[in-house]
């Protein structure tokens, strides 16, 4: 195999989704009581909830991407 070792793709995915999720969730908390804003999303505080889902996904990706590789017994 040529080329130097690369970083695991799950790391940037984890970072991106953590960042996006945190921003959305914070914005969701700040706008939680804004009735007109969430009228369109069926009165669901979608920024907050979906932000949290993305945080969980990002954290999982980051966890699996940075976990040390399993050592295979020979």
């Amino acid at each position: 195999m040529s080329g130097a070792a690369r970083f695991d793709i799950r790391i940037p995915i984890g970072i991106l989704f953590l960042a996006l999720g945190v921003i959305l969730a914070i914005y969701g908390v700040a706008t939680h009581s804004d009735v007109t804003l969430y009228e369109r999303s069926e009165n669901i505080s979608i920024n907050l909830w979906w932000g949290l889902v993305m945080v969980v996904f990002g954290a999982l990706m980051l966890y699996f991407g940075t976990r040390p590789p399993k050592i295979v017994a020979t």
Partner: protein, 593 residues
């Protein structure tokens, strides 16, 4: 012109975060991009799940997302045929049966396989048409992006295109194919996370699947079909006049399910390149199969929003844009008549809907500030990754298949790596030029797309015969391809879809066959091309001299040892994955019959 909606700082912040991550990925990968193999084939070291997600993402450009949503509104759930029979069987086939030759022959590109199997002229024909086509589709994609974001957000057409092009250029230039693949995987998850809540909210507003069925039944009747024509995939496929696609099951299964689908998924370097970059033969074979798993479910993510857009209304009176006139249906606005400024009316007196706006309207309708930024970032990401897919395929075909055979043979690896980066720059420059051509001469683009449809339709016959019949010769393949393309042009020239005017839509040799819809015509054109290529290739092969069998080991089925499935776990076996994918597909076809 005023825009349809406005973004708030939070939306821009989300976009900026995405751009920052994309560029960082390219920057970090520059150090592991040292040889041409790194640049064009990711050093053949990509794990199969990454290659698999990139495999579908490369195809999941925004035209796909926007186009499938539009088709959902036009044809209903039957649009999923483009996935369930128009992609899945071919993806399973390429993984199980063709990947051993693509990967096993160590060809670095699909045209290079043709060179190994046949000869230089067949390769050059394929490489040149593929190179021109990728540039063109990348250009059309950029044009669509510039136009859409201008309409939605009032962004400048030139600026949005330029910014997207520069970002794509930067990350491919630095990290090559790996960079493109990594960003395609990121984009895959962005699309899923951007569109899943859209479907959830949309279905809630429409009263679930049953509520949607009730509403779409009314619309279906208004359009002159049975009530269930928009919510059943197969029930009305017996007669082209009874379903909105306007095609019967045989044309659909043969034209779309066999010729076009196998021609694309099994031979198009844009997707096959992702599998060729994987770390082992087993991983390469798994790539399309892993890709097929989410592909089976994608109709729910991209087609449902279009159907929902027909069935829901704006959430409050007067909300939405003033540009959206009441003449539309659901939240889909009508097309605007350039002369009167009012809604466009067709010959039958019906309002023509601007179906391509179904998905963007859904984003505006259901997403508040914040989520709207996420949804539009997903859309932007898919535009960029569609462009990146085309550019990486172009620079590889240019550098491996065109440049060394016709311009400079036997140069050093550094030279080819340098050429790959240069090809990235001029590939993107040409795409931008193509985007401006599309913007000013729509007809030229239609014509070019038509020509390439003719070139592509017969391709699968050439590959299938090459891989599974050792007697096929280079002359046979070359003449077969040309005849297939001619057959497509002739069939298109003597046929026309009902309601179309002879010209670029066909009928230029006189109208002898009339189809119910343009899709019906397209499918049958493909069938004509394929059959002609298949027959002519066989006939010419029989009268020309075959190659020595030893030269074909690893390239032809009967002369190549069967791949042994030595995977660690049962669920890694290609055959097991294939059975799972096909079972799920069959089940969904029955559920939505």
């Amino acid at each position: 012109m005023t825009s349809m909606t406005h973004l708030t700082p939070i939306d821009y912040l989300l976009m900026l975060v995405y751009f920052a991550v994309v560029l960082t990925v390219g920057w970090m990968l520059r150090r592991s991009t040292k040889t041409s193999t790194d640049f064009f084939l990711s050093g053949r070291s990509i794990p199969s799940w990454v290659a698999g997600l990139a495999f579908i993402s490369a195809n999941l450009g925004a035209q796909e997302v926007i186009g499938m949503g539009a088709s959902g509104a036009k044809y209903g759930i039957a649009t999923s045929h483009f996935y369930w029979i128009g992609a899945i069987p071919a993806m399973v086939f390429v993984g199980l049966f063709m990947m051993p030759f693509y990967y096993g022959s160590r060809a670095r590109s699909v045209p290079e396989y043709l060179k190994l199997r046949y000869d230089e002229k067949t390769r050059t024909l394929n490489a040149v048409s593929f190179a021109v086509m990728t540039i063109m589709s990348s250009g059309i994609s950029m044009y669509a992006m510039g136009k859409l974001f201008n309409l939605l957000l009032g962004w400048s057409f030139d600026m949005s295109m330029l910014v997207a092009a520069v970002i794509v250029l930067a990350y491919i230039f630095l990290g090559g194919l790996t960079s493109a693949i990594y960003n395609e995987v990121i984009q895959f998850f962005l699309i899923v996370f951007g569109f899943a809540p859209l479907v959830f909210l949309g279905l809630r507003a429409a009263g679930g699947w049953s509520g949607l069925q009730v509403r779409l039944a009314e619309i279906s009747v208004q359009r002159g079909f049975q009530p269930g024509a928009l919510t059943h995939a197969w029930r009305y496929m017996g007669d082209p006049s009874q379903n909105p696609i306007g095609v019967e099951w045989f044309g659909l299964a043969m034209g779309l399910g066999f010729v076009l689908s196998f021609g694309y998924w099994c031979t198009d370097f844009l997707v096959v390149q992702r599998a060729m970059a994987s770390e082992s033969m087993a991983a390469a074979r798994r790539t399309p199969l892993i890709a097929a798993l989410p592909k089976v479910l994608f109709p729910f993510l991209v087609i449902l929003p279009g159907m929902i857009a027909l069935a829901v209304d704006w959430h409050a009176p007067g909300v939405g844009s003033h540009a959206i006139s009441a003449a539309g249906q659901g939240i889909i606005p009508p097309k605007i008549d350039g002369l009167t400024g009012g809604p466009l009316i067709d010959q039958a007196g019906h309002v023509v809907l601007d179906y391509d706006l179904s998905v963007p309207m859904m984003l505006i309708r259901f997403f508040p500030a914040g989520m709207l930024g996420l949804g539009l970032t997903a859309l932007l990401a898919s535009f960029m990754s569609g462009m990146a897919g085309n550019v990486t395929a172009f620079n590889t075909v240019w550098t491996y298949d065109i440049y060394p055979s016709h311009i400079k043979k036997g140069a050093s690896d550094e030279h080819y790596l340098w050429m790959g980066r240069a090809a990235t720059v001029f590939g993107i420059a040409l795409s931008i030029a193509a985007a401006y051509v599309a913007a000013s001469f729509n007809n030229i683009m239609d014509l070019l797309q038509l020509v390439f449809a003719f070139v592509n339709a017969p391709l699968f016959a050439t590959f299938a015969l090459g891989m599974f019949w050792k007697r096929t010769t280079g002359h046979g393949a070359f003449i077969g391809l040309i005849s297939g393309t001619l057959a497509a042009a002739i069939h298109h020239g003597i046929s026309l879809a009902g309601g179309s005017v002879p010209g670029v839509k066909g009928g230029y040799f006189g109208v002898h066959i009339v189809y119910r819809s343009e899709l019906g015509q397209t499918f049958w054109t493909a069938i004509a091309a394929w059959v002609t290529c298949f027959v002519v290739t066989i006939l010419v092969s029989l009268v020309t001299r075959p190659r020595v069998e030893q030269e074909l080991v690893g390239l032809v089925y009967s002369l190549t040892p069967k791949p042994v499935e030595i995977d660690d776990h049962w669920y890694q076996k290609p055959s097991v994955l294939a059975v799972i994918v096909l079972t799920v597909t069959l089940a969904l076809n029955i559920i939505f019959f």
